[in-house]
């Protein structure tokens, strides 16, 4: 793996849109070429080198390229946009659209991320050590095809709209979440290890949700069907099994309707 280090030395006046911070773009480029890549601040186009000190040349392919952003990226959007391979590590916070439309590779953020982390993700891995704001692994506005694959792990809390219109993949929130988990989902798995305030699985067609803490307000469209023992993220526990959303349309397989599953850990 060839390591490229980006050290931010200047804070942008507004926000930087760095579609180019991705192993796919860096691959085959020298540090000088990388510093010449375009980034956008509002309507102006500037160079990556105007804001970051670039060290190291990239590998020949994205797979062989490792990017380390050693500093805070609170005002940097679109890190790892559409990446397919390689890895990115951010030693601080990252702004919106981290790993958006991502297809492969790995991103590790040591701080917090803002909204739209892993939007419309198709594959790869995102690990956030801190908290995430809203719309983790959601769909783009108006798109009925949300997250299709890959794994997002948030070690802290997450806001609302987790896995909206999700079709596949896994989202793990290790602490609490606010509202709207897997709304409109037609597949995929969401695991919330802490508590959720409510609206878990609203308008959900298919897929699984695990809540290891408590659901403060259960939706009326979810019906308790029994108790079950399941393995979740490396641990086995007893869960109360609910099916739903009974108010939503559902596919029929062999004449029987297939519902979405909600498992809430038994106290």
């Amino acid at each position: 793996m060839a390591l490229v280090t980006l050290k931010p030395y200047k804070t942008p006046e507004l926000y930087l849109e760095c579609y180019n911070i991705s192993p796919d773009v860096f691959a085959g480029k020298t540090s000088a070429e990388i510093a010449e890549l375009d980034v956008r601040e509002g309507k102006t186009t500037v160079k990556l080198g105007d804001f970051f000190e670039v060290k190291g040349n990239a590998g020949k392919t994205p797979e062989e390229t490792e990017i380390r952003v050693s500093g805070d990226c609170s005002r940097i959007k679109y890190i790892g946009n559409k990446m397919t391979a390689g890895s990115i590590t951010v030693d601080g916070n990252a702004d919106m659209y981290l790993g958006g439309w991502m297809k492969g590779g790995k991103i590790h953020v040591l701080g917090n991320v803002h909204s739209f982390c892993g939007i419309a993700m198709e594959g790869g891995e995102i690990l956030v050590d801190g908290n995430a704001e809203n719309y983790v692994g959601c769909a783009y506005r108006g798109d009925w095809r949300g997250m299709r694959g890959g794994t997002i792990r948030i070690r802290g809390n997450a806001g609302n709209d987790i896995g909206t219109f999700m079709l596949g993949g896994t989202i793990i929130v290790e602490k609490n979440a606010f509202i709207h988990v897997s709304t409109h989902a037609e597949g995929g798995t969401v695991i919330i290890k802490g508590d959720v305030q409510g609206r878990v699985g609203g308008q959900m067609v298919k897929g699984d949700i695990y809540v290891l803490g408590a659901v403060q307000h259960m939706l009326p469209g979810f019906k308790k069907v029994g108790m079950t023992e399941r393995e979740v993220d490396g641990m086995t526990a007893k869960f109360t099994h609910y099916i739903g959303d009974l108010g939503e349309r559902h596919l029929k397989v062999k004449g029987k309707e297939v519902y979405a599953n909600l498992y809430v850990m038994a106290a």
Binding site: E13, L14, S115, H180, T183, H217, P220, D245, L246, G247
Partner: protein, 457 residues
């Protein structure tokens, strides 16, 4: 002799009443009396004659006071500020005509600005739900003639849309609703006992912030499943009774307002309301409509969707394409995150409507207001440019809340030298083209209008 002008449009709420009659003085300059308008509409017509109205742009001076300047100076300042900014925000347009909205789009594109309208803090979440789930809607005429079960969810038309209930939703006698109110079942879902709730046959006093849960209960019952004994503070029996009434209706109409799209969940509340409308249609006919606030707030959605493909929160800073993602490109979020470096408030009052923190952020940079009147935003602006009042001094197309276009009339002449929104934005656009040494691009219709007439030729 003073003259009565009939079939005048009212520039106040989303009902966009077009049956107002206005008595105009001999010289055609003063409005003496109005008929048919509600108290607020009446006030708007009389307001244009106010002697305190500003008639010249006012520029903030270093000592903090305003000084009157000429329109040319104001146009020059605005053009230069917009060109200099990296990401200006142009926001408002609740109360202007579609011609003005179309003209500002040229300015925004040239400036690489973010173009947003009042829906951003109003029915924006409803737009998101419509993107996600469609909009099975109808016109207000259909409501008047057909609807016999009307739901008001989180809205209070008796106060916010004073003539809505008498023209369309509760009282009028229509083609199939010949008995008017007697024939209609009114269901109101509101945490408070509003004046609309007092008119309702069923008032479900919902626990605030639990709209989504109650919608889910309605849908679950409609699909024949059981629900818990109490949902969102409403007893199961009451929910079953309401669902029964809905199923028995011949035409069910759901009107929803801020109470639905601005409590927790926002777009999802509207989203599930649309799903509910779809479900009801397997039993009877049903339709849904947003209670849009201003008389032409549906206008920017129409105009900009046609021009750019999105109704609001348009980020034109990329130069090559429009980008829209409310949460990122919405006015309040941009302001709170310090993402814009110039703010232009047009035909609305961001000073009164935005969170105070958002205004504090925006105030760090140039702040321009375009509005006929003195408002909170104009008083904190660096530059206030007065324009003519649409619907009173300026004609134009407006879109009613059901997206029906209506031609509004001019009833009196505007103050001398004061331009309309469209004229002002065209001047700003021309000045921007001059400064950047580029050719202005006018729409073919516009070129046509500018072409010499037969007589001139």
């Amino acid at each position: 002799m003073p003259k009565w002008i009939t079939q005048v449009g009212c520039p106040y709420c989303g009902s966009s009443c077009d049956d107002i009659e206005v008595l105009v003085s001999d010289d055609g300059k003063k409005i003496l009396e109005t008929r048919n308008a509600c108290v607020i509409g009446n006030e708007i017509f009389h307001h244009v004659s106010s002697p305190d109205r500003p008639k010249k742009p006012r520029m903030r001076q270093p000592d903090g006071n305003f000084k009157e300047i000429t329109y040319d100076e104001a146009v020059d300042y605005t053009a230069k500020t917009l060109l200099k900014s990296k990401k200006p925000l142009i926001y408002g347009f609740g109360s202007t005509n579609c011609e003005g909205m179309s003209a500002v789009a040229r300015v925004a594109e040239k400036a690489g600005a973010v173009l947003d309208n009042c829906a951003s803090i109003c029915h924006g979440p409803s737009f998101l739900a419509i993107f996600d789930n469609g909009y099975p809607s109808c016109t207000l005429g259909e409501v008047k003639n057909r609807a016999d079960v009307v739901l008001f969810w989180g809205c209070n038309p008796m106060h916010a849309h004073p003539r809505h209930t008498s023209r369309y939703s509760i009282f009028p006698r229509g083609f199939f609703t010949t008995k008017g109110q007697m024939q209609r079942t009114i269901i109101c879902i509101d945490p408070r006992e509003t004046d609309t709730a007092k008119l309702a046959n069923i008032h479900l006093m919902i626990k605030q912030g639990h709209d989504y849960d109650l919608f889910d209960a309605f849908r679950t019952v409609l699909r024949g499943h059981d629900i818990p004994a109490e949902v969102a503070g409403i007893k199961k029996d009451q929910i079953l009774e309401a669902v029964e009434k809905i199923k028995k209706g011949r035409f069910v109409m759901i009107f929803f307002g801020m109470g639905c799209c601005h409590t927790d969940g926002r777009n999802h509340n509207v989203d599930i309301a649309i799903s509910l409308t779809r479900d009801i249609n397997s039993h009877t006919k049903a339709s849904i409509m947003a209670m849009r606030g201003h008389y032409n707030i549906a206008g920017p959605g129409q105009v900009w969707s046609w021009q750019f493909g999105f109704p609001y929160c348009l980020d034109l800073s990329k130069g090559t394409h429009a980008h829209m993602n409310p949460g990122e490109t919405s006015s309040v979020d941009l302001a709170m995150r310090d993402e814009v470096d110039c703010f232009m408030n047009v035909g609305t009052d961001a000073g009164a409507h935005f969170p105070i923190d958002a205004i504090k952020h925006l105030k760090k940079r140039p702040f321009i207001t375009v509005d006929p009147n003195i408002c909170m935003a104009s008083e904190i602006s660096d530059l206030h440019i007065p324009v003519r009042v649409v619907g009173v001094e300026e004609p134009g197309i407006v879109y009613r809340m059901d997206n029906v276009p209506i031609q509004f009339k001019k009833v009196v002449d505007g103050p001398e030298g004061v331009p309309s929104d469209e004229e002002l934005f065209d001047r700003i656009y021309e000045r921007m083209c001059e400064l950047t040494e580029t050719e202005p691009i006018w729409l073919p219709s516009r070129e046509h209008a500018k072409a010499p007439t037969a007589a001139e030729q």
